[in-house]
Structure formats: structure tokens, C-alpha cells
């Protein structure tokens, strides 16, 4: 493939590897050829970035829906698709279709079901699904109750060097629950589970990962006790990574107070003390990945009594501005923020992407970090506007987005 070279000049480059610098970026044949000061080919197209910020496009691991307009509006060009699809991603035909359906603008990296049908009983065909395009295996939004099965999943995935993406909530404690136990759930009379459900699940999976040597990715860690376990395991050298959504960093369970089903998330919103622990874990590097958990759900699943509604949020379009808010608040430096949004998720999936280093695919995001706007779910490009942040003023607007050097509009 040979296309016209592209020279992006006069930008503020934010690279998780190279840090923040002023300069330009040269794209040749869909890949990054140079950054900083460079000599562009004579026929290169030049774009004056006018001082806007140029960063690697977002790699969003753990999305529930294929929603191309929403991802592009959110600066996302690669997603790790959850296996909880219909049908479940446990068959090479289904995995391959998912891997190809978004191209060329959106590269979908399927997370294949770790167990057949996500039932938590029999091992999924991990190697066959890997060859069909799967980049990891996962338990979906469920928990594998049987520790014997979970151990085999981790051991087998280890042989294939596939990360195992888990949902960390003890199913026995969390069964039927739609909220975290505490004052808010008590006042509202909502079925709830103690936040202990999370560290309980994490502790087991960490021990099994340590013993098997598998790469474990905890999709969402949201409790103080959970972060303590992950922090301790990392210091022992366990191959564990963990993620979180902006919602769990910015909202606590009190946000459910008027039964707003857009606040019905999985894992549920936690106590304020857990939210503070999450911000600390973001700052000290315990959290590796920031993701949207994009799961658009229309009124037929959200305009219901809280406990009857579907968990999930349309997060793709708010991921970047909310993340930039965290950087603006001083919770995390901007270049490290893009490690959480691009480099680390790419590393988890073993794909070459996520930085501005030469040789990387030119998956680029040009944005104005200061441009203000108001989050309005009704104006989302997503399939549904179920955002917990409706009405929130934010800053950060995407100006241009490139996948492999080709501009997406």
C-alpha cells in the first residue's frame, strides 16, 4: 500500500513513550515515519495543526457494542470487543466476523470467550479463536465460580500468551445485586452486594495467576481493598494489569439517589472512600487502563425501575474529555494518561499501536484540549445516549482522527 505522505506540522505531541514535545509528525505508507523536525517528501500533504494536541488514537479494551460512529466521535480507532455478544464470541466464525466487520475505520480486536458459551464450565477453543483474530480471552461480564475451571483457563491461556480479561465480582455475593451495599442502597431499598465481592474475586484470581504465570487483566477494579491486592501482587511480580472507567473515578453510589438508571453500572458505583482510593491508584500507577465500557442501551432497557434496568453506559464519546479532566485536575500527567488510553491497552492485546514512535501505525488523534462543550446524551452519535454524565460541562474536542494514516470523517 503506497499512499501520499502526510506531514502534520506545528503540533503539541503527546506520546506515552516520548513525553510531551512541540513539533510535527510524518506519516509514510500509513505508518509513523518521523516525529519532531523532519524533511517531508516533496509530494507530501501538509496539515498545520495550529498548536493543537496530537496523540495516539485511543485503544478501548472491553467494549460491549460495535458502534463505529460513537467510537470515531470519541477518538477511538481500536476496540477490544467483549465476548458477551449474541452469539457469544466462542467460535472462530463469529470471532473472525467481529474482527473484520469494523474495517477499515475501526479495528475490532475480539476478546474470545474463555469458556464455551461463557458458561464457566468447559474451556473455549482459545488457539483456534486466536488464529481467527482474537487478541485475548475473557470471562465476559460474568465470574467463573469454579476455581478449578478458572485455574485451567489461566494455565491454558498462559501457554498461548493470551491475556485473560476477567470481571472481578464474586457471583455468590453479587447475585441479584444492582448496587453496592451502603446508605444509598439501603435508603433506596435496592438489592445490593457488599463491595467485598470485588476483592474476594480478585484475591482468588491473583493467586491463580501467580501460580500459573498467566497474564491477568482485571477489567475494572473499583474498591480500595481491590487496589491494595493488585498493588501488592504487582510488587511481587505477578503479571496483572487492571482498568477502570471514568465513571468509577468521578462518581460514587450517591449518584443513584434518584433511581437514575443511567447510573446502573457493572460493577456498581462504589462508596466515596473507594472512589478516593481509585484516584490514588490512578496517581500511583496501579491502574493501567482507562476504558469506556461502551454499552449503549435504549429506553426499552433503561426506562425501567432501577433493578429491572440493564447495567451499562454509553461511554465512548465521553472517555477523552473526562480523562482530560483528570489530567487537568492533576490526578495524572497528560503523557501518562495516553499510556492508559492507548499504549497499555495495545500491550495487553499484543498489538503494535498506542504510541507516536516511528514504525507505529499512524493511528492519530488531533484534539483541542481546551474546547468546552456540554455532555448531552440526546446528541450522541452512539446507538443510545445512556450517559451518567448528562449535562456535565467538559473540555476537549476531537478535531481530526486518523487510522493508519487515513483520515476518518
Amino acid at each position: 500500500m503506497s499512499t501520499r505522505a502526510l506531514a502534520l506540522r506545528n503540533a503539541r505531541l503527546v506520546c506515552p513513550q516520548g513525553g510531551i514535545s512541540e513539533g510535527g509528525l510524518l506519516v509514510v505508507d500509513g505508518a509513523i515515519a518521523a516525529t519532531g523536525a523532519f524533511e517531508a517528501p516533496a509530494d507530501a500533504e501538509t496539515i498545520d495543526c495550529k498548536g493543537l494536541t496530537l496523540a495516539p488514537a485511543i485503544v478501548d479494551v472491553g467494549v460491549f457494542a460495535i458502534d463505529v460512529p460513537a467510537f470515531h466521535a470519541g477518538g477511538i480507532v481500536r476496540v477490544g470487543l467483549m465476548p458477551d455478544q449474541s452469539p457469544v464470541l466462542d467460535d472462530p466464525g463469529v470471532v473472525q466476523r467481529a474482527a473484520l466487520i469494523g474495517r477499515p475505520g475501526l479495528w475490532i480486536h475480539p476478546i474470545a470467550a474463555a469458556t464455551r458459551g461463557l458458561a464457566g464450565e468447559e474451556l473455549g477453543e482459545m488457539a483456534i479463536n486466536r488464529d481467527a483474530g482474537a487478541k485475548a480471552v475473557g470471562t465476559g461480564s460474568r465470574w467463573i465460580a469454579d476455581s478449578g475451571v478458572m485455574r485451567k483457563v489461566l494455565a491454558y491461556a498462559r501457554d498461548l500468551d493470551l491475556a485473560v480479561v476477567t470481571h472481578a465480582e464474586d457471583g455468590g455475593l453479587a447475585r441479584g445485586a444492582v448496587a453496592t451495599s451502603g446508605e444509598t442502597a439501603t435508603r433506596l431499598g435496592l438489592p445490593s452486594a457488599p463491595s467485598l465481592a470485588e476483592p474476594l474475586a480478585i484475591a482468588r484470581d491473583l493467586l491463580l495467576a501467580e501460580e500459573t504465570g498467566a497474564r491477568l487483566h482485571l477489567r475494572d477494579v473499583t474498591t480500595a481493598a481491590g487496589f491494595d491486592l493488585v498493588r501488592a501482587a504487582k510488587s511481587r511480580g505477578v503479571a496483572v494489569t487492571c482498568g477502570i472507567t471514568p465513571a468509577h473515578l468521578l462518581l460514587s453510589d450517591i449518584a443513584m439517589s434518584d433511581f437514575r438508571t443511567f447510573m446502573h453500572l457493572s460493577p456498581p458505583l462504589r462508596a466515596e472512600s473507594d472512589r478516593q482510593a481509585a484516584l490514588a491508584a490512578l496517581a500511583d500507577g496501579t491502574i493501567d487502563i482507562l476504558h469506556s465500557a461502551h454499552d449503549p442501551r435504549g429506553p426499552e432497557e433503561k426506562r425501567l425501575p432501577f433493578a429491572d434496568s440493564r447495567a451499562g453506559m454509553a461511554g465512548a464519546e465521553t472517555l477523552l474529555p473526562l480523562a482530560l479532566g483528570l489530567a487537568r485536575d492533576g490526578d495524572i500527567p497528560l503523557d501518562r494518561l495516553f499510556a492508559l488510553l492507548a499504549r497499555n491497552p495495545a500491550a495487553l492485546l499484543n498489538i503494535t499501536a498506542g504510541t507516536l514512535e516511528p514504525g507505529m501505525p499512524a493511528d492519530l488523534l488531533l484534539f483541542d484540549p481546551d474546547a468546552p462543550w456540554l455532555i448531552d446524551g440526546d446528541r450522541f452519535r452512539a446507538k443510545a445516549g445512556n450517559t451518567p454524565f448528562d449535562g456535565l460541562p467538559v473540555q476537549g474536542r476531537i478535531r481530526r482522527l486518523f487510522k493508519g494514516g487515513a483520515e476518518l470523517t
Partner: protein
């Protein structure tokens, strides 16, 4: 609290004394608003005891009782309350409704709204369902119980019973005992009684105790005998059949051993302590017949009587704006 909250209701201009369109819960009501509803209920107690019980202030209005969950007593109480005020009362039972055919709650609410109901009384098995409907309809909505959330008229009738039998609610030591985890009656009562300055204790095994319940201004006990100490009012909750055998408590007889209200146990409370139960009772489980039927101590049938009066008051007050009552329109 502002000084104005203590002004007698009669001195406050019309609707300003109760500026709520719906009654979805006790949460959100000021103490003086609760007192106002209790005051308004008093007139109906005497009226209901007379031979001619009918009033005509709701003549021509349509009251729909939409019950998505089975109920006999609450439905009957709301139906009698509406009819005694002259309303045309229509009952919609979940068993015979389109809910079973997959219609969403919102669609059902819109349907009731399109039929031009003047007041809708709703019971639903999900917490928050009543507020969801209230946001979508044009007429006042009364919560007759939503999931484990609230049952405001039950709390009002309980407060009225306590006020009449004990002279006041303030400073009464009340213990609420039983399945607190799933009880909307307990939540509404905690809110109402603490708002009216009672001292509220709650008692349940830890398996039926909601998390952080003390944040609602109550003291939690797992030992019923200790909780009864010095109580003026003993309020027992119903233990649902499906929660009795192994799920949350080992057995009904074990529950009776630890939490059943017997005459011996009642002796731990004050000698004149009042016994209450929202019904229907499981005799021999949470309450013994000797206690339930005790002429001086049990207020259980009086609670039922107060229920009609309280619901008449709520229906009257909530429809005043629509009826153009002076000062409320």
C-alpha cells in the same frame, strides 16, 4: 430548620403547607408536612365511625388503583378511602393487566394517563417504580408500596396510631423488628418516626439487616430482648414465607425463638407498651396470638382503621390543586 416550619398549618396559605404534587415517599417531606397529613386525617376517623360515611369532595374524579403486585388490605383500604370521598374508583390488577403480555411499565402509565385519571395509586414490586410513573403522568400519584423502598401511607397511619394512643410521637422509644432488609414499611416508618423526633431502634438478625442502617438515624440491635428495653412501641414486621426456610433465617421456629413477640418478651418493654403490626400477620412466627389479640396492648386493628382515614386525607390533599380548592389552585 426554619422557624416557619413550626407555624400552625392553618396560618399558612393553602398549598404552601403541602407543596408536593405526588406522595412517592416520606423521604423529602418536612416534619410539618407529615404533621399536616396526620392532622388532616383526624377528621375522617370520626366520620368513618358514623353511620353515614360518605363525603362528596371527590365527586366526578377518577381514581385508578394500579396494583402490579398482589395486595388485599392496602388495595381495599385505598378503594374504600376513595369511595367514601365520592371518587369513581377503578382497580387494575397485575394479574389481569397487559403487564403480563410484556407491556412496559411506562406504556402502562401512559395508558392510564390517557384515560384521564385524576389520581393514580400504585403498588409495584420494584423500588423506584412509582417515582418513574409519577414523572410521566399528569395527575397526582400515590405510592402504595414500591419494592423495598417506601410505603408512605403505612408510615403515616402508624404515626397517627402512635400519636393517638400515646399522645405524641416525639420522644417515644419505638422498636421495629423483623425483615428490615426487604421492608418498605420499615424504611418509611424510620423516616417518618425520626422526622417526628421519636427514638427509633431496629432489630433483626444480621442476615436481614440493611447495610449502614444507622445512617438513617436509628440504633441497630440483633438481640430482641435488649432492643425491647424501655420501649413505648413495639412494631413487628411480616416475615415473607419465601425468606423463612434457610434463605435468610434457618426456620420459622428458630425465628420465633429469637424474634417472636411473646407475652414474656413483651414484658421487657414498658408495661404499657403498644404493639403494632402492618399485617398480614404470621401468628406464631413473628407474633403470638396472645399478644396480637391483647385488648389493651395491641393496636393492630386500630392501624387498619387509621389506614382508611390517612388515605382519605392523602387523596383529598393531593387532589386539591386539580379541584381548585381555595388557596391550593
Amino acid at each position: 430548620m426554619h422557624a416557619s416550619d413550626h407555624r400552625p398549618a392553618a396560618l399558612i396559605e393553602g398549598g404552601a403547607v403541602f407543596p408536593h404534587r405526588h406522595l412517592t415517599g416520606i423521604a423529602g417531606l418536612q416534619p410539618h408536612e407529615i404533621t399536616f397529613l396526620l392532622d388532616e386525617s383526624e377528621q375522617w376517623i370520626e366520620a368513618n365511625r358514623s353511620r353515614a360515611k360518605s363525603d362528596h369532595r371527590l365527586d366526578g374524579l377518577t381514581q385508578i388503583n394500579a396494583f402490579f403486585e398482589n395486595s388485599t388490605r392496602t388495595l381495599l383500604s385505598f378503594e374504600i378511602a376513595g369511595k367514601r370521598l365520592g371518587a369513581d374508583v377503578v382497580n387494575m390488577h397485575a394479574a389481569q393487566s397487559s403487564v403480563k403480555k410484556g407491556e412496559t411499565l411506562i406504556d402502562t402509565a401512559m395508558t392510564l394517563n390517557a384515560m384521564r385519571a385524576d389520581v393514580i395509586v400504585i403498588r409495584h414490586m420494584s423500588s423506584g417504580a412509582v417515582r418513574l410513573i409519577a414523572d410521566k403522568v399528569d395527575c397526582p400519584v400515590l405510592n402504595a408500596g414500591d419494592g423495598s423502598h417506601e410505603h408512605p401511607t403505612q408510615a403515616l397511619l402508624d404515626a397517627l396510631t402512635i400519636r393517638r394512643r400515646r399522645g405524641a410521637v416525639a420522644h417515644q422509644r419505638v422498636v421495629i423488628c423483623g425483615d428490615l432488609l426487604h421492608s418498605r414499611v420499615a424504611r418509611s416508618n424510620i423516616l417518618a418516626l425520626t422526622a417526628l423526633a421519636a427514638e427509633v431502634r431496629v432489630c433483626a438478625p444480621s442476615t436481614l439487616m440493611p447495610a449502614a442502617i444507622e445512617k438513617m438515624g436509628v440504633t441497630a440491635f440483633t438481640d430482641f430482648d435488649a432492643a425491647l428495653e424501655g420501649c413505648d412501641v413495639v412494631m413487628m414486621l411480616r416475615l415473607q414465607n419465601e425468606r423463612m426456610n434457610g434463605g435468610f433465617v434457618p426456620s420459622t421456629r428458630e425465628f420465633h425463638l429469637r424474634y417472636g413477640l411473646t407475652m414474656e418478651r413483651l414484658a421487657k418493654a414498658r408495661p404499657d407498651a403498644l404493639v403494632m403490626h402492618p399485617g398480614p400477620m404470621n401468628r406464631g412466627v413473628e407474633i403470638d396470638s396472645a399478644v396480637a389479640d391483647h385488648v389493651e396492648r395491641s393496636a393492630i386493628t386500630e392501624q387498619v382503621e387509621m389506614g382508611v382515614a390517612v388515605r382519605m386525607a392523602c387523596l383529598d390533599v393531593l387532589t386539591r390543586r386539580a379541584r381548585g380548592v381555595e388557596g391550593w389552585a
